[in-house]
């Protein structure tokens, strides 16, 4: 940090023109009292301040994401422990097993939100091993011993995220597998959306049922069981009517309805609305032709809805 030197050639109100040691004529701003012929030196003040600011920035950047002390640890059975700060962002990571350390080497989770980190971890876990056998369990340890509310909330959050990732993963693998024959009958060519399967059988394998603190699956299964009866009746009746033209199987529709609303992605909701509209059209159209049938359908649907919404 060498300070520039110069001879003062001309002086004005808070400025001066100097001839620097490097042969440059320069106009400088100054609060100092300068007179012609004096030797001027660049004030260190500026350089020091800029240097200080630069140094601070470097330290902050270099330190990376080590902001804020850890307030809770989230553990995932994939073999990773995430240290989270007040804002539930990852500040530390620790492997719990070999798989975990490999995972951590592959990707940097620091600075990510809890959700994002969980997403990444689950993604990678699924991609790696034989996905059908994989169980994913989560646990959260908070620093404050009695913060159970927060702890549960974080577990739920992770839970939700994991479920969603699993779903998306299932959808992807469904595309790969293709549709099976019986399902093709149900679906109309125009209306169906690829990737959404009526068949529930692919899904359960991924989800864990009995372990504590794991993804909760049971209510979902239960609902589906009930709905299927109503569905079959509806389908039979519809097949006889114009309604056949309109899309698909309530099987899909019921699947969506059985989930918690929070789980539905925007896409899901759109599809749901679409089907609701179509369902309404179906009902109205067939009204004239077969009142009894329709009323029965309506009744069934309502029952199903009531059950679902419980």
């Amino acid at each position: 940090m060498t300070r520039e030197k110069g001879i003062v050639l001309e002086v004005g109100e808070k400025w001066a023109i100097v001839l620097t040691q490097q042969g440059k004529y320069k106009r400088i701003k100054t609060k100092d009292f300068l007179q012609v012929g004096e030797i001027w030196q660049e004030p260190t003040g500026y350089l020091m301040r800029y240097a200080l600011v630069a140094a601070i920035l470097l330290v902050l950047l270099g330190a990376g994401f080590s902001f804020l002390p850890v307030t809770a640890y989230a553990q995932i059975s994939s073999g990773v422990e995430l240290g989270l700060n007040r804002w539930e962002m990852v500040v530390t990571t620790r492997p719990l097993n070999d798989e975990g350390s490999q995972l951590l080497q592959e990707v940097s989770l620091k600075g990510k939100t809890l959700e994002k980190a969980v997403e990444v971890i689950v993604d990678k876990t699924l991609a790696k091993s034989d996905a059908d056998n994989k169980d994913i369990a989560v646990n959260v340890v908070t620093k404050k011993p009695n913060d159970e509310q927060n702890r549960q909330r974080m577990i739920e959050k992770m839970d939700t995220k994991i479920k969603r990732v699993l779903e998306q993963y299932n959808q992807k693998s469904s595309i790969n597998k293709g549709f099976s024959a019986p399902e093709k009958d149900k679906l109309d060519n125009k209306g169906d959306r690829p990737g959404i399967k009526a068949n529930n059988e692919d899904r359960p394998g991924k989800e864990d049922k009995g372990k504590p603190g794991s993804n909760k699956n049971d209510p979902q299964q239960g609902n589906q069981g009930n709905n299927n009866k109503g569905i079959n009746n509806n389908i039979k009746q519809r097949k006889d009517k114009e309604a056949e033209k309109y899309p698909p199987s309530n099987g899909i529709w019921q699947n969506f309805k059985s989930k918690k609303d929070a789980d539905q992605t925007k896409e899901d909701k759109e599809i749901l609305k679409y089907f609701e509209r179509k369902e309404k059209d179906n009902i109205d159209r067939a009204k004239d032709k077969n009142n009894n049938g329709n009323n029965e359908n309506r009744g069934n649907n309502k029952d199903n809805n009531r059950q679902n919404n419980k």
Partner: protein, 243 residues
């Protein structure tokens, strides 16, 4: 360190002082004009503001000058150092009295200027003399540049930003300064001998255009008695001094 002018003045000063102390009071008139800038400059530095001959402090400085002429003995050290110190003390005293006469007693508070109570460095007054010498050089240069319609403001505007460009320009200035023919051309016509430079010395036409004023100023500094300024400009032109 002082320029030749000042040195001459030293012996002249001692001569005048001696005559003055012997009774020839008019002896001071010979060098009064030469000493006044120094007196004002010391006063300015002490108060950290520009003092002119009309200011009160100017009178104080002049009175101090007379006092010094009365008292100075060569064995007391440098005349200028002595003169400078006396002026400084008188100004400080004056300032203190001024402050006391006001109801606000801030005379004892720390000043944010040149600290009065601190003794000055050894070469403090020598540096002031150097400043004055430079000031004289600069005045001279300003006048010369005026003849070429060039101001210092012009110069800072056309100053090449890159070191390399400045070097190139200064080398051209050197070529002109060293050549009688080219210097004459410049002096007489008040413009650069562009054609000769381009043809004979293969100088880039654009360079001459863009940095015309900078080059002319460079020629003047190199060619004439601008010892201080030259030291700032010579390295660019190639180092060795020009006769």
């Amino acid at each position: 360190m002082s320029s030749p002018g000042a040195k001459l003045l030293d012996s002249k000063i001692i001569e005048a002082v001696t005559r003055y102390q012997d009774g020839e009071k008019s002896a001071i008139d010979d060098i009064y004009g030469n000493l006044l800038p120094f007196c004002l400059r010391v006063a300015s530095k002490t108060e950290n503001r520009y003092i002119t001959i009309q200011d009160e402090e100017s009178s104080i400085a002049q009175i101090a000058l007379l006092e010094v002429f009365e008292k100075y003995q060569p064995d007391r050290g440098s005349f200028y150092a002595f003169l400078g110190q006396v002026i400084r003390n008188r100004i400080i005293d004056y300032k203190r009295k001024e402050n006391r006469s006001r109801t606000i007693p801030f005379s004892d508070l720390g000043e944010n200027r040149d600290s009065y109570t601190e003794p000055v460095a050894e070469d403090y007054f020598e540096k002031i003399l150097d400043d004055l010498a430079r000031q004289q050089e600069i005045e001279k240069l300003r006048n010369m540049l005026g003849e070429y319609q060039i101001s210092f403001e012009d110069l800072y505007k056309v100053s090449p930003k890159q070191l390399g460009a400045r070097e190139k320009a200064m080398r051209v200035a050197r070529i002109i300064a060293e050549s009688i023919e080219l210097s004459e051309h410049l002096f007489a016509k008040k413009s650069l001998p562009a054609r000769v430079l381009e043809e004979k010395f293969a100088v880039n036409h654009k360079l001459l255009d863009r940095y015309r004023k900078y080059i002319i100023a460079g020629v003047l500094i190199l060619k004439y008695e601008f010892s201080y300024l030259k030291s700032y400009v010579l390295p660019l032109a190639g180092g060795d001094d020009i006769d």
